[in-house]
Symmetry: C2
Amino acid sequence: MSSQAERPAPGLRERKKAKTRAAIQRHALRLFREQGYDATTVEQIAGAAEISPSTFFRYFPTKEDVVLYDAFDPLLFATFAAQPAELSPIQAIRRSVHTVFGKLTAEELREQWERAVLVLSVPELRMRMLDATVTVSQQLAALVAERVGRRADEIAVQALVGAVLGALIAVVATDAVRSMEDYLARMDASLACLEAGLPL
Amino acid sequence: MSSQAERPAPGLRERKKAKTRAAIQRHALRLFREQGYDATTVEQIAGAAEISPSTFFRYFPTKEDVVLYDAFDPLLFATFAAQPAELSPIQAIRRSVHTVFGKLTAEELREQWERAVLVLSVPELRMRMLDATVTVSQQLAALVAERVGRRADEIAVQALVGAVLGALIAVVATDAVRSMEDYLARMDASLACLEAGLPL
DNA sequence: TTTATAATGATAGTGACTTTCATTAAATAG
DNA sequence: CTATTTAATGAAAGTCACTATCATTATAAA
């Protein structure tokens, strides 16, 4: 009845489920790369992963969700919360982004890159990602509010969080599709603009 | 062969089409209000508008598009372009928002409000609206760039536009909004925060 | 081993959207 | 005003994402 995930004894059942889930995701992403997202049916994915279509939907509520699993947000939040208190919210966010992305290996970066291109090029995925950002903004607002001793629903807090995410998305949406190299540098530069009060 | 819409002589055909389109939209929005968006099928809308389902999709590519027709963006852009050159980009945007929404009649405001509630409460519609914002941001970036004599793809320009839209969306996404007036005031306040350099 | 529980697959939906094609109505040519 | 071209429509069948049901099988617990 514990609400924690048990790390020491995953159990045979859980191990199998994890393997099935991973297999579905792997085959799905491969098929998407090979044939395109729209041209790949759930039936094909199920076939490749050797499960029934019904089972696919037991593991992923929608076809989109196969792509949209993202483990980065929690990590970013934790890093943000660990930033020294004397930094301004924007400075703290800037450093967190830098820290988290800086820790990725070249391979991880490439994977993230490929996924980003896929998400940005498929309207349904792009939309889902944006919508998820709304949720992220509420969590970030809570953290920022705590840090500066305000309420999360104050306009100043909401505006700041919205502006930060907007500035970051602007970078991703603009030239993520062209070059992976400057990705991090551009995100940092965008946040630097915000920090400087958006001079123009 | 002219690419302009002919205002003086719409022609019988065009007039009929406009009427059909309006009828579809009217009945659809009524049914959405009465039964909810998901519970209303395209077949029902077609039935109410006395056309075939096939014809529905000839007028609107998707069920979502019936709701998402928006004539505001062009108006906002035009108003922005007409702002005096001595205003900063953010100031100019702030004034434009104020001007455009201030010109609406009470009836128009109520309609917009109803539509906004619908869009925000239905995930599919909310996502589509967010996605449309990506396009909007590129257009706005072009206008801002022209105004300040920079290139639209410069980071400073993209960051500014992203931040502005992010700050505005943050207001929309907050569920604390109770009336259209409230809504407007919050958008203005959010832009004011940006203008002040996001102090916190 | 027995029993409860959870995972699976098969089957048959629903509903948005597409495609095709024959029919009708409107615009245009003569 | 009639003939011809062109566009709008409806009917019908199909695709695909997704849901619901239920019998079957595999795992866990007693």
